[in-house]
Symmetry: C2
Subunit: 352 residues, 2 copies
DNA sequence: CTGTTAGCGCTTTCAG
DNA sequence: CTGAAAGCGCTAACAG
């Protein structure tokens, strides 16, 4: 079918080894010979067979990027940051797991089959003991086989009995801190009954952000009403809409709603408008992530900025091995509170 | 390092061929033998080497998806549609070209190296004779080598002298028709001076949408003022903002602005607000694509719906070969005008 | 500087 | 039903 190295060698009148050398440029070759080989390559439209090369050299030029949802800019931003670091040498492949543990494992297998040079898992991890163990084991195995593993936006892997410490690097987000700062902002504005739209259950991100939120409440002597002020969504817009509706119906007294991501916050804004409530005059709304569109919302969304693209770049260079591993294999990226127009003091000031 | 087929064979006390057979399940093997082999696989934590397999069987389980911008939901939606069709057997890899011709070619090379089973190019193509020729040639070459090629959201490849018709399937969008319908909607509302925010120059999508827009103008005896009503952006929000600013400054009389995608339309809305203009009372605004957030904008955006996810699914099954090629290798997906709150009759009705 | 010689790990006839 | 053997296309010592 396609031309092979041998074909090129024959046509150039040299040995296969020589062709390989000029192609890889890692060995001295006479200028005139190189010339001849290059011409043969052109003539034959030769393109090296990646599989044969990978097999012989036991190297791979695949880097896998696992994301929960490609259509969500949160992941797109991270992924494009990573991909920018892989240059033209590695094929950075984005795998969409849809947040399904099953699919996550499947992709990991596929990447393991290809002996991927690296893999980065992005976003919150599913918190299910069995799955966590399965992923951890497989990741350790891959790392042991030489695959560079980095986690971006999820907590470090739990230690595994019997497994040596392996080069699994983590770029974690300070979800707790960010969430806490956000809720504290609302409290300082005077809000006392604050609704919370959490992410999907059993996700690290969901838990951490919720913990930050509750820590802020507790620090100010506020409760969350036995969880009646918390509703779970699944990070997409319509779930934010539904959750906000449920919240205003269930707890009419709330003066603010914190959504655990911007997308749901926007859905919540839409729900409030539909319910005839003004943002922020009747109810303040805040999000998390600071995706590009948050600035455009009306009113502009108060949120917690996560340097997604930068975190992607960091993870990308880590998985490519172009920057040294941070001490302890863990780098935490901070968050920044972005106060905008969607939050304001409650209409009725709280009793002093 | 990792266990090999031979290791498994030894441990199971069978030949490598037998192991291969039970693994691929494409040949009769005694139940008890299979059992033994499977246990050995487990014990050794064996994972087939994809490269060796691909080399020996000359098959690949990679499917490439080229997108201009992963962080843009337009592509995310298409990509997730495609990926949903590749199941757990093929590794659907998303490659981010950033709209760079150079990078597009690089990824194509990488995929060609891996002898990808298929590749789908999404979104508008760069219109530059040289680049078009290069891409077309390479695609033909890949198709000739057995890679299934599908174009999603871009026009069919130009015929190439000396190359037989190859199985390059196209799922095209009716950008012209959609754009025309949109502008006609505005005209029917009474608008006469309509600004247009086009996409990047030299892109098929840009050209087609612009052509549709102008066709509508012409059909109603309207001109575009020697192009003074048209500004180019690059499909992202800030360029929409800048373009709208330029438009209101340059042509104060406009009563409507059509942006060639939703993202820029939202940027334009923000610009108008910043300029103290109301949408749609002072100026109507319309977009294109109908991305999820368009419904959430305030006011909700009038736009042209493109069944992105569905087109992705279609392209995915085409590249997997699970559905027959449409007649002529071309399937066009239609558009639907979504009239919402961002467009209204101009404040000052035009002179009858 | 260049050619020879072994494989890399798997699939696939071809014989049992 | 199972094994032996011959590659798939390339790289990497090892000799010249």
């Amino acid at each position: 079918m396609a031309a092979t190295l041998a074909d090129v060698a024959t046509r150039a009148g040299v040995s296969a080894a020589t062709v390989s050398r000029v192609l890889n440029g890692n060995y001295p070759v006479a200028a005139t010979t190189r010339e001849r080989v290059l011409r043969a390559v052109q003539d034959l439209e030769y393109v090296v067979n990646g599989h044969a090369r990978a097999l012989a050299a036991s190297t791979s030029d695949l880097v896998g990027i696992l994301v929960n949802d490609v259509a969500d800019p949160f992941f797109g931003l991270i992924a494009s940051g990573i991909q920018g670091q892989t240059g033209g040498e590695k094929l950075a492949v984005i795998c969409n797991t849809n947040g399904s543990p099953q699919s996550e494992l499947t992709y990991l297998t596929l990447l393991q089959r290809q002996r991927a040079a690296g893999v980065v898992l992005t976003g919150g991890a599913v918190e299910e003991p069995e799955h966590t163990r399965a992923v951890t084991e497989r990741l350790h195995r891959m790392a042991a086989a030489g695959t560079r593993v980095v986690l971006c936006g999820r907590p470090p892997l739990p230690g595994l009995a019997g497994l040596a410490d392996l080069p699994v690097t983590t770029v974690a987000f300070d979800n707790r801190g960010g969430a806490r700062a956000l809720t504290e902002h609302l409290i300082s504005l005077g809000h006392r009954r604050i609704g919370y739209i959490a992410g999907p259950v059993n996700r690290t991100t969901t838990r951490h952000r919720l913990e930050g939120h509750r820590a802020a409440l507790r620090a100010h002597g506020l409760g969350d009403d036995d969880g009646r002020l918390t509703v779970h969504g699944d990070y997409d817009r319509s779930s934010g809409y539904d959750a906000a509706m449920a919240l205003v119906r269930r707890a009419p007294g709330i003066t603010a709603i914190v959504a655990s991501n911007d997308t749901m916050a926007l859905g919540a804004c839409a729900a409030l408008r539909a319910a005839g409530l003004d943002v922020p005059d009747d109810v303040s709304i805040a999000g998390f992530d600071d995706l590009p569109f948050s600035l455009d919302a009306v009113p502009a969304l108060t949120t917690v900025r996560l340097p997604l693209h930068q975190a992607g770049i960091r993870s990308g260079s880590l998985v490519m091995g172009t920057v040294p591993t941070p001490p302890g294999g863990l780098a935490t990226v901070g968050t920044e509170l972005m106060v905008r127009a969607s939050t304001a003091p409650p209409r009725t000031p709280p009793p002093a």
